[in-house]
Each structure stands twice: as structure tokens, then as C-alpha cells.
């Protein structure tokens, strides 16, 4: 078990920057999820850490020891591949035992450790089978067992659930989380599924274009997205982003005028334009005629009933937003309103969060 530190890690493939200036410390026993769209550099990060690619710059330390010059097997890092990469010509036991054999563990100790870890991931009954005879979920567990059996200092998971059927995914997610807690192993978990990143991570890293967009607890990333990319990427449906003008402390959105928090005004500097963000779930039916929040008018023709909630498109002046209301079926409110404190403000050019 150890702390893993990434310092200005970068990787270029010819002229393409796959990962740039990646700095992060994963605490001992912490599970950090890395979330981003495909091609954002998240798999590159794991491959650099595992030693399957060489760094273009920066350094990686595990337990204080620089590892970027070490061969993969000297790094004390284990990885679960997206494709599982089970050895098809070996039994489940042979697969799990393989790293122990490579590290010269004696036969009796091997047997004991294989059986311990097999019990942990509940595959004790299928040790003598071959991977071809297993279901997707079982293969996934074998891959986990093979990675965990040698007690790595750092555990890397590359989209481990992307090949598992949806119903099984939630159960395996809980299983991985429980296992990681119980073993206290420092873990980096890469995924493009925000549900996984949010539910599994002690902290999450949002990655895009090879650059860190935000690092924070999942709740904080949702509450206070650092820029418009994160705002649009985390949350389903995504946050609504609207262009707005600000003059003399008054914000103009469509035909509405709203107050602007002083902090945002100060950070806005000379610029008048900004981007207003509002989550679909921030809206609630407006009561009465007077309103001091952001008001939108739902279009009854464009609603989707989803059981526990209703998704409906609504107009704010020329703009359209997505609104999420609880309790379907009932009459749609004529107007919906998001309170001022639920609004997010971003700079128009850079997309960086201005406040609150």
C-alpha cells in the first residue's frame, strides 16, 4: 500500500499531446476515478503508470520511489485490462497463479494465496475451468483476482466494467468498491461512465484533451464544476449553458434581468459577456406571477415521461433548456423557475468558472 504521486507527467505521440502536465497525488488507500470521453488521455495515464509506455516528461512516484525508469514488473503495479486479457490457454487457477510464479513464490504459498483471493472475489468453485467456459462477469472477477493476488502497491483499472451487461454492472461496481475498501489498496480507476466515476471515487479527476479539468470529490464536481466542459460532461441530462450579457450589476438573459453575485462581477473584469449554467434539476414549478430566479416556459409537446421524473424542453427567450421535474403525469406547470443561488457563471471565452 502506498501513496502515488504524478508530477507534471506528459506523453506525446509525434505531435499529438496525449497527456499534458498531469499532476496528482493519490493518497494511500484512496480510490481516484479518472473520467473523460474516449481519447482524453485516461488510458494513456494508466499505460504510463504501468510501464507499457514511456513518459515524455515528468515523474511518477509510488511510495516515494520514482518508477518511470523501471520495467513494468519492477513497479509493484497491477492492472485490470478493459479486455480482461486472461490467458486463454491456462485455467482460472493458472491465470491467477501466473504473477506469483513469475515472482518465484513457492508452490504451497501459491496455492494458499490463489485460494484466498478466489474466495475474496467468489470464484473458488471455478478454479479449474478455462476462461472460454466462463461468463463475462466471471471473467471480470478472474481478471480482478489475478491483479490482486500479489498485493500490488497500486491498482490500475481500465474501464473494467465496460464489457459487462448493464444489470451486472451495478453489482460488480459495489463489489469492486467493497473489495478496494477491505484491502485498502491505492487505486486509479479509469472510466467514461460518469455513474461509475461518481459512485466509486473518493475523488474524481475529469480529463479532456489530455489535460486535467477538475479534481475533487464527486459531489463537489457536480456542485461546482470548474469549467463549461465539466459542467456539460458531468450530470445527466447535462447542465444547460446559455449566453448572457452583464452590465451594471444586472444580467440579461433573453428578456429577463437578474442580479449578479458581487464575486462574479469582480471576476468578470471588463468583459460583459458570460455563460450562464443551470442544471435541469434546479428548476421547480414557479409559484405566483412574481419571480426573482431564472424563469423558463415548458413546452408540453416536448416532454418525456421517465417514471419517477419528467424531462421537458422549455424556452428562455430565444434559448432552449432541458428541465427535469419530479412526479410525472400531473399537469405541467405553466412556468418553471430556478433560484438565483442555483445558477453557475462561467467566463465566455475561457469557459472557466467565475463563481459563486
Amino acid at each position: 500500500m502506498a501513496r502515488a504521486e504524478f508530477e507534471r507527467v506528459s506523453k506525446r505521440f509525434d505531435d499529438v499531446v496525449a497527456l499534458g502536465d498531469f499532476t496528482l497525488a493519490v493518497e494511500d488507500g484512496e480510490l481516484v476515478t479518472v473520467l473523460g470521453p474516449s481519447g482524453c488521455g485516461k488510458s494513456t495515464l494508466l499505460r504510463l503508470t504501468a510501464g507499457l509506455e514511456t513518459l515524455s516528461g515528468g515523474s511518477i512516484r509510488i511510495g516515494g520511489r520514482p518508477i518511470e525508469c523501471l520495467a513494468p514488473h519492477e513497479r509493484d503495479v497491477a492492472m485490470v485490462f478493459q479486455s480482461y486479457a486472461l490467458y486463454p490457454h491456462m485455467t482460472v487457477r493458472g491465470n491467477i497463479e501466473f504473477p506469483l510464479r513469475m515472482h518465484g513464490v513457492a508452490r504451497e504459498a501459491r496455492r494458499r494465496r490463489v485460494e484466498d483471493v478466489a474466495a475474496l472475489v467468489e470464484i473458488g468453485a471455478i478454479l479449474e475451468r478455462r476462461p472460454a467456459e466462463l461468463s463475462g462477469g466471471q471473467r471480470q472477477r478472474v481478471a480482478l483476482a489475478r491483479a490482486l493476488v500479489r498485493h500490488p502497491a497500486l491498482f490500475l483499472l481500465d474501464e473494467p466494467l465496460s464489457n459487462v451487461d448493464a444489470p451486472l454492472r451495478a453489482a460488480l461496481r459495489q463489489h469492486i468498491r467493497a473489495l478496494q475498501r477491505r484491502l485498502g489498496v491505492t487505486t486509479l480507476y479509469v472510466t467514461h461512465e460518469q455513474a461509475e466515476a461518481m459512485t466509486l471515487g473518493d475523488r474524481m479527476v475529469v480529463l479532456e484533451g489530455g489535460r486535467i479539468q477538475q479534481v475533487d470529490a464527486p459531489g463537489a464536481v457536480y456542485e461546482r464544476p470548474a469549467n463549461t466542459f465539466v459542467a456539460g460532461f458531468v450530470g445527466t441530462p447535462p447542465m444547460n449553458l446559455l449566453g448572457a450579457e452583464c452590465a451594471d450589476g444586472v444580467l440579461r438573459v433573453g428578456d429577463q434581468c437578474l442580479g449578479v453575485p458581487p464575486l462574479v462581477q469582480a471576476r468578470l473584469g471588463g468583459s460583459r459577456r458570460l455563460i450562464l449554467g443551470v442544471r435541469p434539476e434546479a428548476f421547480a414549478p414557479a409559484e405566483g406571477e412574481r419571480a426573482d430566479g431564472l424563469v423558463a416556459v415548458p413546452d408540453p409537446a416536448r416532454r418525456e415521461l421517465l417514471g419517477a421524473e419528467t424531462i421537458v424542453r422549455a424556452r428562455i427567450g430565444q434559448d432552449e433548456v432541458t428541465v427535469r421535474l419530479p412526479r410525472p403525469g400531473a399537469e405541467l406547470p405553466r412556468r418553471v423557475e430556478a433560484p438565483l443561488e442555483a445558477l453557475h457563471f462561467f467566463a465566455a471565452e475561457s469557459g472557466v468558472r467565475l463563481g459563486p
Binding site: A71, P72, S83, A85, P88, E133
Partner: protein
């Protein structure tokens, strides 16, 4: 569909049938006109005559030895080359061209310079066919290489990466993971390379003048007017060839790669 199968079977089996017929009928029947399709008289006289010819045993053992060495030498070179080519596309482009170069010429055109080279190196007409199996390796390399490269390409690179992470050296990952997984290709390559050497005529004729492998022997027997004997040798040549195919065939069909992912 059935017609195609019948046509292929006929094209394959007709010459085979004729060889077998000639091997087990008296030589004068081979010369009969009009030719007969089915044997009128069955006889073992050709086979008996073969047993009396000492050269047959020498030819059989020389051909076997040369084929075995060719398979071994080809695999030793082609396995690492094919592995590197499958994993490093930029190396592949060079290897591809270089290996196929030797097959651009008819073997008989290569046989004369190779014979000259063998004489200079003292490998000419070697009793164990050293010059010949080296020449056969040259012929067989592109085939072995192409078949094995296809095999390595079908092994997901993550399996080797996983092995590296699990503590295997590069050689260890190759030996313990990649090699067992290309066993079908290995079987196919061994089979094809064996047959290349076993049936090769041009080099065998020119590089081994008195220590003769079987194909030149068939040629000499035919040339000296013994179609029955020649066919008996040819029939004898079928036995090891079919044996090798039967031994390696199960490996060709194994689904050894199933189950690594998903």
C-alpha cells in the same frame, strides 16, 4: 456446391489414383495403349523391387532428415521474425519484402549459384544434406513467416502486456503466453514447410548428385523407364506426408484463443 466439391476432389484424387495404380500394377501395363483407368492386374513387384534397391533407404532417410532440419531452421528464424513483424509494423514492411525476394525466381535459377556456393563451403552432396536443407530453408522462410505472422497478429497485444505486468520478461511473455497461443499457426507452418522440403525437386536434383533424396530418385527412375518403380517411390512418399498432416491437424483446429476477453 456439390459440383465444386466433386471437381476439387477429382482434380486432387485423379493424379493420386494414377500414381497408386502405377505403383501396384506391372510396368508393362503402365505403358499399355490405350491407357487403362483401373488396374487389370494387381502386383507387389514394384514394391519388392524397391526393397532391393539400397538407394531407397538412403533416399528416405535423407529426405526425412532434410525436411526435419528445414522445419527446425525455418521455425527458429521465422518465429522471432514473425513476432517482431506482428508487433512492430515499421519493421514488418522491410521483412516482408526481403523474405519474399527469394521466391521471385524459379528454384532452378537459384539452384546453380547455390550449388556453386555449396561446393565452395564444402556442403555440396553432403551425406546429411546440409547444403540442401539450408537451401530449402531459404524457400520455406516466406511461407513460415507469413503463416506465423498471421498467428501472432491474432493474439491480442494486451495478453503480452499483462504478462509483462505480471512479472514476465519480454522473452518470458513470448514463451509462456504468445507461443502457446500461436500453436495452430505453428502447426500449419510446420506442415507447409515440411511439404515444401519433402516435395522440392530443383535444389534436390542439383545439390545432391549421388546422395539423393526421394524427388530426384522418382525423376531418375522415370527417366530410365521405370514408371512402376517411380510410382512406388511416390506412393511411399505419401506416407510420411500424410502422417505429418494427421499429427498436426488437431492443433490446426483448436480454438486456443477463445476466452481471453469480454
Amino acid at each position: 456446391m456439390l459440383l465444386v466439391v466433386l471437381a476439387v476432389a477429382a482434380a486432387d484424387l485423379l493424379p493420386l489414383g494414377l500414381v497408386l495404380k502405377q505403383a501396384f500394377t506391372p510396368e508393362r501395363e503402365s505403358f499399355a495403349w490405350p491407357p487403362t483407368w483401373l488396374p487389370r492386374t494387381l502386383t507387389l513387384e514394384n514394391v519388392r523391387a524397391l526393397r532391393d534397391a539400397v538407394e531407397i533407404e538412403g533416399g528416405l532417410s535423407l529426405s526425412t532428415l532434410v525436411a526435419a532440419f528445414t522445419v527446425a531452421a525455418t521455425l527458429v528464424i521465422a518465429l522471432p521474425a514473425a513476432w517482431v513483424a506482428a508487433r512492430r509494423p515499421h519493421v514488418d514492411r522491410g521483412l516482408d519484402g526481403a523474405l519474399v525476394l527469394a521466391r521471385l525466381f524459379p528454384t532452378i535459377a537459384l539452384a546453380i549459384p547455390l550449388a556453386a556456393l555449396s561446393i565452395r563451403l564444402g556442403l555440396y552432396n553432403s551425406p546429411v544434406g546440409t547444403g540442401l536443407w539450408l537451401a530449402h530453408t531459404l524457400l520455406a522462410l516466406p511461407i513460415g513467416f507469413l503463416v506465423l505472422r498471421g498467428g501472432f497478429r491474432s493474439v491480442p497485444v494486451e495478453l503480452e502486456e499483462a504478462a509483462r505486468l505480471d512479472g514476465a520478461s519480454a522473452a518470458g511473455a513470448f514463451w509462456r503466453v504468445s507461443l502457446p497461443l500461436v500453436s495452430p499457426s505453428l502447426a500449419a507452418a510446420s506442415m507447409l514447410v515440411f511439404l515444401v522440403s519433402w516435395d522440392e525437386f530443383g535444389f534436390s536434383l542439383l545439390l545432391q548428385v549421388t546422395n539423393r533424396p526421394l524427388p530426384p530418385l522418382v525423376y531418375y527412375l522415370t527417366a530410365f523407364g521405370h514408371p512402376g518403380l517411380a510410382s512406388a517411390v511416390a506412393a511411399l512418399m505419401l506416407v510420411p506426408a500424410v502422417g505429418v498432416i494427421l499429427v498436426l491437424e488437431p492443433a490446426l483446429r483448436s480454438g486456443v484463443l477463445a476466452g481471453s476477453g469480454r
